[in-house]
Symmetry: C2
Subunit: 166 residues, 2 copies
């Protein structure tokens, strides 16, 4: 029996209910603090995104929202996504045109995304050394940074283990 701490960050066996609970309750308190509304639709979309650690497409979310909100249209989804991004509760994965839950919405986040081609899971990391190097590079270039998209595609630790042991 492997202990939780010995496992990778997102082993298939991990307790995902906990991920979801933390994400949703953090979202709720952040919205309360900020005086913005985590409406039913927004909450449902956030929940749908959190069904896995994969990046989800907008129209896939729409399909999955419709059973809950019969009137849902593209605008419904995109509005909810815009709100969730503004509040830092999700990230847009630019290179996939997809969306993934943020695991550190209550922290500073200058994140880097590792995106696995096999399991499609997205792993968000602070990567402070990378960010520091990036800050230096920006200064050297005289470039004033507003936002960053750092998206690394490849094979995650879990999947390469599986491939290796097969």
């Amino acid at each position: 029996m492997t202990s939780q701490t010995e496992l990778n960050q997102y082993p298939s066996e991990h307790n995902h209910n906990q991920c979801v609970n933390v994400a949703l309750s953090t979202a709720q308190s952040l919205c309360n603090q900020r005086g913005v509304l985590l409406t039913t639709i927004r909450y449902q979309v956030l929940s749908l995104i959190w069904e896995s650690h994969k990046a989800v497409k907008a129209y896939e979310l729409l399909d999955r929202l419709r059973p809950l909100q019969a009137a849902a249209k593209p605008a419904t989804i995109y509005r909810a996504l815009d709100f969730l991004i503004e509040q830092g509760l999700i990230h847009r994965v630019e290179s996939l045109n997809a969306f993934v839950g943020c695991r550190c919405s209550d922290q500073q986040h200058e994140q880097l995304l590792f995106i696995c081609k096999l399991c499609e899971q997205v792993d968000e990391r602070p990567a402070t050394d990378v960010m520091t190097a990036l800050l230096d590079e920006s200064k050297q270039a005289g470039f004033l940074v507003h936002s960053k998209a750092i998206e690394i595609h490849g094979i995650c630790a879990n999947c390469s283990t599986k491939v290796g042991t097969t």
Copy 2:
């Protein structure tokens, strides 16, 4: 009179004909070396992309190609873009759904893109320190990197100078 070397990398006054000539002749020789065809359409699309250092949208390229290729359709453009990307002659800017010429197609390039919100120009940099830090981070995460998209949005040196002195 400011000398060329004192100026920023892409001052508005720079000799862009030289950028274009270098890019197109490099492209031609790389394709020759590799035994792939830089056909008329591909060459024309590459030339259109190199009309500036801005990232260009596919359908904008299509509009600009049509006077030269009356039969041009979306597939025409996307095929040419696919070819140019495969050959490392252009980059896709994921966060803009747009395309920009590569200034170092003959080198190793693990590039980082600085994208200016004001002048829209894209500046490609090797940023070796960033790449090293990224390599470390990937190793720590046990992540096997296939490709990267590192896109930094903000205000470039030229534009912030202009804003500053206005």
